[in-house]
Amino acid sequence: MKSITLKGRSASKGIAEGEALLTYDALSFLSDISVTEGIITSPQSKFKGQSVSDKILIFPTGRGSTADPYGFYMLKKAGKAPAAVINIDANPTTVAGAIISHTPMVYKLERNPLEVIEAGDHVLVDGNKGVVIITKQVT
């Protein structure tokens, strides 16, 4: 299996690994995800109905408001939070949410994660070093 290492910046510390889930729209943890179930609910998303729980959630950036970090925190408390988050650009509401939820988050990778990573890839996010290691599931 092919393994790719990408360097980026750390937004929130910790190490986690899991299966990649990609969404291509800006994401609000409060408006686009059910905080008690971890299911994507935004009607315009083609990933509506998918669970973010324990996934490595990859999306371009956050579109959060004042209360958005609370949504991330509630997801974590409900046991439905993603294992880690990867963004192209970091919105401060997502960064705040990841930190108060003790969830690793990395952004500004040397390559666009939405192009390098595919759904189902195994991804390790090292929020201490700001590194992402992708193990491709296709041979």
């Binding site: 959060g64 209360a67 970090p69 609370y70 705040a96 930190i99 108060i100």
Partner: protein
């Protein structure tokens, strides 16, 4: 990021784990924005998730846990701190006939929250308009959340403040610091989109609802560009200005606008633009204002159950206007008329006899709660029906409509008339 000795001590945990986490959070936000350092702020404005957003149930308990974790070991806020409204007063919940168990749980959550913030020395404003009580000066750096406060501070007072989130606002209050980025840097404060008013508008004769509609409509057009309003009356009142600020906070994501001749940093359009060319020019006329009015209404039923004025919290001027409109009239028995403000202004209005006039007509003056934005949106118990709401506030109407509530948006006299007749549109 370069840290001062004071910041290093906080980061090492010398002021307790809450302050330590707060500083870590601000550093991470600063790094995301490539801020070179943290700066000292002179004040902050916080909101309380357990009192404003989640009042009952599991989510409320989690919100309380988060706050307890965030303030662990902290003894006092580092700067003067004001606070946003709560969700719903238990007295209003009773009047609405909410279940007793719900009111009891909500009251416990409120008591716990009030105690937590009082212990840290909060100025208990419980308002979205802390500038009525603790105004700031041009050039002061502030921290905090609540889009209205951020817009008013930057655009009307010339204060420097970013649109932060709830947790980072609390972190700025606990540390007295915020990262140096965004609105704290003069080069980011210039206007980008010119907003010209067409000849078919007479801004001198604008009602509060017109200012709301203008703000709401322009927000949808500029999205993320800082607008520069041309042609607004230079003698606009604080009441009019708060209505120009608030809707922009929900229809756009911007932290600031310029109004030429009003905003301290916009004596002329050239200064507001910072010597650059505008990125775009928007024209607003009667058609655009009418369209905003229409967009803000979702109701089909003309029978009114609930009339709300005070988003943002009413000024003494408005309290006087409402009392004059109500004098000698009676609110229809099955309509709830609520006027929302902050406690010091309610006390003043009571001294002036205005609260008596409103109460004798059957209306209620409540302080410290976010009737429209918070409780009608999230706080209504499952299966409970608030009914049809009338308001002169675009921000409230926006949230109500988004929450599936039937809402009428119109002028203050239209709203008072609806409270008296129980019908919309008889004005």
């Amino acid at each position: 990021m370069k840290l001062t000795a004071d910041e290093e001590r906080m980061l090492a945990g010398e002021s307790g784990p809450g302050v330590q986490r707060a500083l870590e959070l601000l550093i991470a936000i600063g790094e995301a924005y490539e801020a070179e350092k943290l700066i000292d702020i002179s004040s902050s404005h916080i909101l309380s998730p357990e009192m404003q957003f989640w009042n009952t149930g599991q989510l409320s308990r989690w919100a309380r846990e988060l706050v307890a974790e965030s303030v662990e070991g902290a003894t006092h806020f580092r700067v003067p701190v004001t606070i946003n409204p709560i969700f719903l007063e238990p007295a209003i919940a009773e009047r609405l006939g909410y279940p007793e168990s719900y009111i009891e749980e909500m009251s416990q959550s409120l008591a716990s929250g009030r105690e937590t913030y009082a212990r840290l020395g909060v100025i208990p404003t419980y308002t979205c308009c802390p500038f009525y009580i603790h105004p700031l000066r041009q050039g002061e750096h502030s921290g905090g959340a609540e889009s209205l406060v951020v817009l008013f501070n930057n655009s009307v007072l010339g204060v420097r403040v970013n649109r932060e989130s709830g947790p980072t606002a609390l972190a700025t209050a606990l540390t007295g610091k915020t990262p140096l980025y965004g609105m704290h840097l003069p080069e980011n404060r210039h206007g980008q989109a010119l907003v010209e008013l067409k000849d078919d508008l007479d801004p001198g004769a604008f009602t509060y609802a017109d200012y709301n509609a203008l703000s709401y409509g322009v927000g949808k057009m500029v999205v993320d560009k800082i607008p520069i309003f041309l042609g607004l009356p230079p003698n606009m009142s604080i009441t009019q200005l708060k209505y120009l600020c608030a809707p922009l906070g929900v229809s756009a994501g911007i932290p600031m606008f310029h109004a030429v001749g009003i905003t301290p940093e916009a004596p002329t359009v050239e200064v507001a633009l910072g010597g650059k060319k505008p990125e775009t020019t928007i024209e607003v006329g009667r058609k655009e204002i009418d369209q905003a009015f229409a967009e803000l209404c979702s109701a089909t039923d003309s029978s009114i159950d609930y009339v709300f004025l005070g988003c943002p919290h009413v000024t003494i001027t408005e309290m006087d206007e409402i009392a004059r409109l109500l004098q000698g009239k009676r609110v229809k028995s099955d309509v709830l008329l609520i006027i929302g403000t902050t406690e010091p202004l309610r006390l003043l209005a009571r001294q002036m006899g205005l609260v008596d006039i409103i109460e004798n007509s059957g209306g209620m003056v409540v302080s410290g709660m976010c009737s429209a934005g918070s409780f009608l949106r999230r706080g209504v118990p499952q299966g409970f029906h608030v009914g049809v709401v009338a308001t002169n506030a675009a921000k409230a109407a926006h949230y109500l409509k988004a929450g599936g509530v039937q809402v009428w948006f119109g002028t203050m006299p239209q709203c008072i008339n609806a409270a008296v007749t129980g019908k919309w549109g008889d004005a």
